[in-house]
Amino acid sequence: MRIWVTAAAVLATAAMGGCATTGGAAQAASRPKAEAKAAPKPLPKGLDPQASANPFPSTYKPLAGRPTAIVGATALTGTGEQVDNATVLFKDGRIEQVAAGLPAPAGYEVIEAKGKWVTPGLIDTHSHLGVYAAPAVAAHSDGNELTNPTTPEVWAEHSVWPQDPQFNTARVGGVTTLLILPGSGNLIGGRGVTLRNVPGRTVQDMKFPDAPYTLKMACGENPKRVYGSKGRAPSTRMGNVAGYRAAWINAADYKRRWDDYRAKVERGEKADAPKRDLGLDTLMGVLNGEILIENHCYRADEMAQMIDISKEFGYRITAFHHAVEAYKIADKLADNGICVATWTNWWGGKMEMADSVEANVPLVDAIKGGCAIIKSDDPDVTQRLNQEAAEALAAGRAAGLNITEAQAIRWITANPAKALGISAQTGSLEAGKRADLVIWDKDPFSIYARTERVYVDGGIAYDRRDPSRQPVSDFELGLAREGVR
């Protein structure tokens, strides 16, 4: 446990330090030095990838909250512990303390929660809400830019429809943070965007402040089927691999040209900036360790090849998604510090899903250093990540593994936070973290458990008994059914 926390903290620091949305501050710190030497003319607006690292900044504002004490609950903290008769204190959007039997301080709103359970807000690391919005009509099919197998230049946030009613149903299920990814039709599908699951007028209103960007890549059947059927590359798995490598060669060359340019500027020499390329910006961000790779990859053998490719070009894979064969190489994945984000129950849709086992997540988790995540990739499953985790827990126990609920809750809280580079911010009930939490009426590993209240940054984003805290999307107005579905 201690080892894991340390690793997560290191990752978070590395990711946050260089992440796209904090880039501005980093540059501000380094620029004066260069200016002192040569004071070169800045590049025209929009031509410098560093200066333009965050062109769609978050406008997220937390819902107003009050100092709150949840008293008497059973807390699964996401740190591997269960605290009975827990008091959870939060204020100003941050968790202050979680401990057994604490009295509520004066001035705090007290929630009597005896018999109820509290967990961190759930995090879905594989979602297409907004980019495949409901209703699922062709006009809402915005998740796969299937015009080129390599499209690192597209960003999922530009497809997110904030009025997708499915954000609301996911929130009822306790989801407070989501990674919205492009689809898997392309070898390199584009940037994902990490969202706070709060209603917003714009996607910027939902963007998780300072979360690192992510890049979706995809192995296997989808890209080769999509492009093979168009009579172009890739049409085979070997074509897939050639495609990734060609893209990284271009990225490495692009990075070299920018690095050379900046070195020259730094030395006060005359330098001609490379022409900015949106797709290569993203790939360069990966090579610089600023953008996290989220790699759709089912089969064990393909995951091993993707790891080799990452080493050839010097980047890290943060998580393999779907990864139904992760249990076959759980040791290799742990050795390389790669998380596995998958389902419990899904299998058999296509050949590369044939070898799924229910115990995949617990088997990955059981390896020292393993990082296992339950995700949805589905607007129904995202409403019940706790149940998918319960099914995995049961399968793990049936396989002879000794797993507690306190450990298993990390599959939908702390581990996904790690895979999104936001574990310093959310994913566990620890002092200083964002007050993202869920009050359940029963043990969340029971099929009968329902959420009573969902807090995001200490504000009530959903309340089962208060219609004024049950958001309704614009699309749903005027329907016979409004409010909680």
Partner: protein
């Protein structure tokens, strides 16, 4: 307690002959799904594959093997309703669930595609599923049956024009028992898409499909009245093939129910009206907006096959979908059967879906009925299946706890009195890779 139970089950499984002998499960919390309801400390006695006694004090015959359930829950084996089990292995590779054949629409019959060696069946079986209602789908008109993959399969898009008539074909009930013949009963329902799906088959609009549907029924009646004239070529022109006309005779005679795939409230009302006027027996399938017309469905005595988790405005036919649908239909007196999402791979989720229905207001006994006796009744096999009653097949499951809970596991599954092997290809894969440090490659472990 659990280890004693498991040992007893294992012993029984090992010793169970192909033709089951007499055995008794004792000290069980028996949820019969029949008139006896729940029996707190009950006994189930089985002879030759049939239940001979169920009760608090049912006598255990001399010489019978005894399985002491030690308080564990025993239920009838669950039904997987509305599935492609037996007709598919890997969805993307293909299946036997639909065809594009202009002269085989109503006549399409899933019974001929059943594969008892399908790798899907053990996966469902070890999860306590013992029967399945296998349902054909209209090509190009179906909902949800292709969406068992990743994001590449979602998001919609134009589908090919259907190359067959208004009917998806005939459903069958199968057993999930290990064996060579899994057909329990063929021709249990005629599957008919309505709403958007029906409109597609009818040429693009409901107004064409319903008219064509009624004309087809009229043709069937004309044909049934005088087959000889048809065969002599002396009847008026009939739109359907001879095979389709034949297949629809039990439908117009009210002997075979139609399984009407329908979602929007207005379409449900249209189907109820159609059934009334044409004297059809009908089961609704889908009915996401059923809660809006629950009283009308109940008054018509029409049962509903539904996915209790359908709560999103996924299409313009389900704008008013809600998790409360099942509870509202149930409260109105509608008999429900619960299905699941996908082709057949996730059939084991049926029991969780029942649990979710309970969490959203369906009484427990009604939810249990929705995965046992109700589908058995709807699809005409309640004389043999669906509840623990004397005379019925001994399809029963011993559970480690509440069968709707994910943390509960099926400990033993009996079908027609035969203890089923509690293994599957998935479990073999799991065990092969559980230890990654074996000296030989995994391929040597089997």
């Amino acid at each position: 307690m659990k280890s004693a139970l498991m040992a007893a089950c294992a012993a029984l499984a090992l010793s169970a002959p192909a033709f089951a002998e007499t055995f008794a499960v004792t000290h069980a919390r028996v949820l019969t799904a029949g008139p006896a309801g729940e029996i707190a400390d009950g006994t189930v006695v089985v002879t030759d594959g049939r239940i001979v006694a169920v009760g608090k004090s049912a006598a255990v015959p001399a010489g019978a093997k005894v399985v002491d359930a030690a308080g564990a829950v025993v239920t009838p084996g669950f039904f997987v309703t509305d599935t492609g089990l037996g007709l598919t292995e890997i969805s993307a590779v293909g299946d036997d669930q639909s065809a594009s054949n202009a002269s085989v629409s109503a006549a399409f019959d899933v019974q001929y595609g059943l594969n008892p060696n399908s790798i899907l069946l053990p996966v469902a079986r070890v999860a306590g599923m013992t029967s399945a209602v296998v349902v054909p789908y209209a090509s190009g008109a179906n909902e949800g049956d292709a969406d068992e993959g990743d994001e590449m399969t979602s998001g919609g898009g134009p589908e090919g024009a259907p190359a067959h008539g208004l009917f998806a074909g005939q459903a069958a009930v199968i057993t999930l028992a290990q064996g060579t013949d899994i057909l329990t009963r063929a021709k249990v329902a005629m599957v008919v898409p309505f709403g958007d799906g029906g409109a597609k088959l009818g040429g693009g609009a409901r107004g064409a499909e319903i008219v064509a549907f009624r004309a087809a029924l009229d043709d069937v009646r004309a044909y049934a009245r005088n087959k000889a004239a048809y065969d002599r070529g002396e009847s008026r022109e009939l739109a359907l093939s001879r095979a389709d006309l034949e297949a629809l005779i039990p439908v117009v005679q009210g002997r075979m129910p139609i399984l009407a795939q329908v979602h929007r409230a207005s379409d449900i009302r249209a189907v109820l009206k159609l059934a009334r006027e044409e004297n059809l027996k009908v089961i609704l399938s889908g009915a996401e907006e059923g809660w809006m017309v629950a009283d009308e469905i109940a008054k018509a005595g029409v049962p509903v096959v539904m996915y209790p988790l359908a709560d999103r405005p996924e299409t313009f036919e389900t704008l008013n979908a809600t998790m409360e649908n099942a509870a509202k239909l149930s409260a109105a007196g509608v008999a429900l059967a619960f299905t699941y999402d996908g082709v057949g791979h996730r059939a084991r989720e049926t029991r969780y879906n029942a649990g979710n229905a309970v969490a959203h207001g369906v009484p427990y006994d009604k939810a249990l009925a929705a995965v046992t006796i109700n589908p058995a009744k709807m699809f005409g096999v309640a004389d043999r299946k669906g509840s623990l009653e004397p005379g019925k097949d001994a399809d029963l499951v011993i559970w480690s706890g509440d069968p709707f809970e994910p943390l509960t596991q099926a400990k033993a599954v009996f079908i027609q009195g035969v203890a089923q092997p509690m293994t599957s290809r998935q479990l073999e894969l799991r065990d092969r890779y559980k230890d990654l440090n074996r000296s030989l490659p995994p391929a040597y472990t089997h």
